[in-house]
């Protein structure tokens, strides 16, 4: 396996003073690898991504990004270290244009020439974004908005991208585009940590699958094997994991 770009090691995390949501979660993503986290609603998938991107500080455990423990650092810092996070649901800035949204992806870039260069690169990568450049982002279809979110996330050429249910609410065609782009990210050497409800579809694209339940990874392995694992179905139906 390629060298680890991002790993969560024995992470415990939760909200406020409530009981922990993640209880000893460990997961590793290598360069050019797509790792998929699947699991029932409320299992802690989104929470795991929030810990990885600095939106939520873990109570204990390590978050290692490119060899460095970054647990508890702010999202701003992690962004600078090569991490991008596309959160669950719609996250475009609705009352801004597509152009403004994409440029905000380069908010921390102070060099205008560099910014312009990145804008051109993502426009090429996401044709819909270029087509709808002047439109208000909130008026785009769900699939188009996802494209804008991807474009915004790739503005800084991240080493690792966290995608939280990117196909949620999309029609089959828009879903196919999303998975094609995940595949493209992998081929350009980006590490992808993908969370999906649509486990079967996600495991077709991913290299490694991890089944998360009650804040911990219960089963993990090559995505192809996992897709065929009868325990996956049982877990989704509420059965015991082991």
């Amino acid at each position: 396996m390629s060298e680890a770009v991002l790993s969560l090691e024995d992470v415990e995390a939760g909200y406020g003073r409530a009981a922990p949501v993640l209880r000893g979660l460990s997961v590793t993503v290598g360069a050019g690898q797509v790792v998929c986290l699947v699991g029932p609603n409320g299992a802690g998938k989104s929470t795991a991504l929030k810990v990885a991107s600095g939106l939520l500080a873990p109570r204990s455990g390590r978050v290692v990004l490119a060899g460095r423990d970054v647990a508890g650092l702010s999202p701003q810092r992690l962004l600078g270290l090569g991490l991008a996070h596309v959160p669950q649901g719609h996250s475009v800035f609705r009352e801004m244009t597509v152009a403004e949204n994409v440029r905000l992806g380069g908010y921390t870039v102070r060099d205008p020439a560099r910014l312009a260069e990145r804008v051109e690169a993502v426009k090429e990568l996401f044709p819909v974004v270029a087509e709808r450049w002047g439109s208000m982002a909130g008026l785009l279809s769900g699939g188009q908005q996802k494209q804008v979110e991807f474009a915004r996330a790739l503005m800084l050429e991240p080493k690792v991208v966290l995608l939280d249910e990117p196909s949620m609410g999309l029609d089959p065609r828009a879903t196919r585009v999303v998975f094609d782009q995940i595949d493209l990210m992998r081929r350009t050497g980006v590490a992808v940590l993908l969370v999906e409800q649509n486990a079967r579809r996600a495991l077709e694209t991913a290299d490694v699958g991890c089944v998360l339940d009650l804040g911990r990874v219960h089963i993990s392995g090559p995505a192809r094997d996992l897709a065929a694992d009868p325990r996956l179905g049982r877990l989704y139906l509420g059965g015991a994991a082991t």
């Binding site: 996070h85 959160p87 996250s91 475009v92 800035f93 609705r94 009352e95 905000l104 992806g105 908010y107």
Partner: protein
Amino acid sequence: MSLLLQGLALGVLTGGLYALLASGLSLYFGVMRVVMVAHPAFLFLAAYLAYTMHTAFAADPFLTLPVTVPVFFALGVAVQRLLLARLAPDNLAMMSVLLTFGIALTIEGLLGTVYTGSYKSISMDYATRSLTVGGVHLPYDKIIAFLVAAITLAALFAVLIRSRFGQALRATIQHREAARLVGIHTERVAGYGFGVGLATAAVGGTVLALITPFLPASHWAWIGKLMAIIVVGGLGSVAGAALAAVVLGVVEGLVLVTIDATWATMMFYVFLFLTLLVRPQGFFGGRLAHRF
């Protein structure tokens, strides 16, 4: 007919001022989802300071602005950082109302102590004159109020749309988590957003002092009106609030000349209820309300 034109013209002029007075409330709601009950109290604090400038130093009330605008900005940042940002997120809406209610009472008390509870007003020599266009009388003080409001709002919009800070502020209002994920320090930006909101109160209050008499308790009459404006406009949308302010100003002006002052004020609440019944997300943008 000329009566209606008169009402319309006055309505546009007052509506422009309302737009400025409400813009701060929109900003606060946008950045923190809180209702800042003390905004009108700060308006009248600025009004009293302009009054002091005029009476004690015999100077133009607008000369207070170079002092009050930066001071109010700093106060706004302080209120957000030191008080509101420390409230627990779970009951922020409730606690922020109590807290800012307390601030409003404190300001009212201070004003009462310093200036007594009787009406004060600033009468400039231009206040009694008016411009007559096609049978419509436009008092100079209202025209000046409108122009100052328009210039201030134009400056505010230029900052919101063109500047890097404005981009960060709008991003923070529209999707806080996504804003953090592109590297915006949303806490800091929210503080400055409050500062800008309160800075508009410095200008708005000074203008208000020119066109209406006031006493320490005057702010109570305003919180309802301004709340109605930002709900009709769409909570958190500065542009929506500005549009709603002009529309409500015109409605108020027309009802004022055709019926009476009580009904004119009532229009704000009629529109508020209609909005809540028909279109709780507001009529002019702003999609924050239905997140509740």
